[in-house]
């Protein structure tokens, strides 16, 4: 698997858009940066498209980009009810890794990680992809053994992963508390060095700009109100800006997947839950990696601005309200302070929630549906950001060829009838 390289298609803005470079920056400085080209057009909806993608988040924009760049689809539109990347793309904690237990998961997340590794060049946009490592901590003997099994499974799939002991962890992360007398002592951990973070907004903007360069229309403030069908075939979408004719619709709307699926009488095995995150006030650099902990349930990294970025698990009940309950951040802060006492006097700067669509097996759905020409990419739950390029890449392939490729095939909807689930609860390295 490790030797398979994804087909990146047309790269580096072949459509002729102005490129970003140090030279361009210096040249534009002569003119006080007054004449930079718009990153993407404010496209009005046309009457008809070959493919319409619903949802202008990272996954939707990546899908549109790869449809144009890899599959040469000419008339593609992305419709977004708000603004680009205003949903979960701008609300996640930006962690990227591919250290999953099962082969199916390893295939798709590693596919994504390979695309991350060349993304800034492909898109001519600095997505600030930083392979600073992702370290998952074990707090008990049992967890350490389970972790060892997972590390071996991951390595068999050709993905880098290594076990660290408490003293190695202390060297790698000097601010961590490795005192063995605390309630959940650090007993070991496993590290994926190729994992890390990226600037989430830049991912949406980079894909949008590169897709626009290839002729994709990006239509913001355009809410889908209906899916028009003729028999069992999709013929177009009703939107707040009028009807758009199309024979292929890719739906990538995360928390609202059940709502859009309902417009075509399709039921999905999803639960929409709030997932919360927060950042502290910015401080000097103290943490140059990503730390995750399953047992105390918290993940933390430091942004380039200096804020400590914290996240945890989903809230316990369904919601579409984009806000969560107080006990969840309280719990995650308690865990962070025990592991990193140095953070105890930091103040919280911002706190927010996004609505994630969770699946019964904690794995996504990338699938055709009973309606011909209607495709769904959803169910990413708490871990969608890391998959953004891989998800878009295989979903574009599914839409273009009307059949799933090797990577996407296990994620079809019918797995909830056949029982061939991809159970990543906990095995993903963080509880869901």
């Amino acid at each position: 698997m490790a030797t398979d390289q994804p087909d990146r298609g047309l790269r580096g803005l072949p459509g002729g858009k102005q490129k970003y470079s140090a030279f361009a920056l210096a040249k534009k400085a002569m003119n006080y940066h007054q004449d930079w080209q718009r990153a993407w057009r404010d496209a009005p909806p046309k009457d008809e498209y070959d493919v319409v993608i619903i949802g202008g988040g990272g996954h939707g924009l990546a899908t549109a980009y790869y449809l144009a760049a890899v599959h040469g689809v000419k008339r593609v539109a992305v419709v977004e009810k708000g603004w680009l990347g205003g949903g979960n793309t701008g609300r996640n904690t930006t962690i990227i890794r591919s250290n999953y237990l099962w082969d199916e998961s390893a295939a798709i997340y590693e596919h994504a990680l390979k695309l991350w590794e060349g993304m800034s060049q492909d898109l001519n946009f600095n997505v600030m992809f930083s392979q600073r490592g992702v370290l998952t901590i074990a707090h008990s003997e049992h967890e350490l053994r389970e972790m060892s099994r997972r590390v071996h499974a991951i390595r068999l799939n050709g993905i880098d992963s290594e076990i660290l002991g408490p003293s190695e962890i202390k060297t790698f992360v000097p601010i961590i508390n490795t005192d063995q007398t605390i309630r959940y002592p650090v007993m070991g951990g496993f590290l994926q060095k190729r994992g890390g973070t990226a600037r989430h907004d830049a991912v949406a903007w980079g894909y949008a700009r590169a897709a626009d360069d290839l002729g994709v229309d990006i239509i913001q403030n355009c809410e889908v109100t209906g899916l028009r069908r003729n028999g069992r075939r999709i013929v177009g979408i009703e939107t707040s800006r009028g009807f758009i004719k199309t024979r292929k619709v890719g739906c990538v709307v995360a928390g609202h997947s059940s709502v859009v699926a309902g417009m075509a009488d399709i039921r999905l095995p999803l639960a929409s839950r709030p997932l919360q995150a927060l950042v502290s006030e910015p401080i000097k650099p103290v943490l140059d990696t990503v730390i995750m902990s399953n047992a105390v349930h918290m993940y933390i990294s430091q942004s380039d601005k200096g804020e400590m970025v914290l996240g945890a698990g989903v809230d316990k009940y369904n919601s579409y309200a984009q806000r969560g309950s107080f006990p969840v951040p309280e719990h995650m802060i308690a865990a962070a302070v025990e592991l990193f006492p140095v953070l105890s006097r930091l103040r919280m700067l911002r706190h927010w929630g996004g609505i994630v669509d969770t699946c019964p097996d904690a794995s996504p759905i990338i699938s055709k549906t009973d309606v011909e020409g209607l495709y769904f990419n959803c169910g990413w739950g708490t871990g969608g950001f890391k998959a953004t390029p891989g998800s878009g890449h295989v979903f574009a392939d599914l839409i273009a060829n009307d059949r799933p490729n090797r990577i996407a095939a296990p994620y079809a909807l019918d797995r909830f009838q056949t029982g061939l689930l991809i159970d990543e609860h906990g095995a993903a390295g963080v509880a869901h």
Partner: protein, 124 residues
């Protein structure tokens, strides 16, 4: 933070409760006669409405008893709380129960073998 009125203990904070997901899913008694797709309706498919949702809750850190709740998932408004085995009494709650796609599934039909048995098993 929700304040939930437990039918047995009165108003308490959300952190004392656990949410048990969609209510009124009856286990099919004749599951061997169902197709895999029909059984998946019972096993995996859950209603996920944006709006009123009928769900089960349990007062895990209190009396530990189950009850049903009709709650709006867009506003978090709790419309009514009613006992296990019962059905919603409010107009909106009744409509949510009646209009659920689950009422038409083969899995639910298979949960009602005979009228006399149904009276003892109703709800859940």
């Amino acid at each position: 933070m929700l304040v939930i009125t437990c039918p047995h203990c009165g108003p308490r904070e959300e952190s004392e409760f656990a949410c048990g997901g969609e209510a009124h899913i009856a286990r099919p008694l004749a599951e061997n006669s169902l197709t895999d797709a029909e059984f998946a309706d019972y096993l995996f498919l859950r209603d996920n409405p944006k709006g009123l949702f009928l769900e089960r809750w349990r007062h895990t850190a209190g009396c530990r008893r189950w009850f049903n709740m009709a709650r709006d998932t867009a506003t978090h408004e709790i419309v009514e709380i009613y006992p296990m085995g019962g059905l919603p009494a409010s107009k909106a709650g009744k409509a949510a129960h009646k209009n659920s796609w689950r009422r038409d599934t083969a899995a639910e039909a298979a949960a009602k073998p005979a009228k006399s048995a149904r009276n003892q098993r109703s709800g859940s």
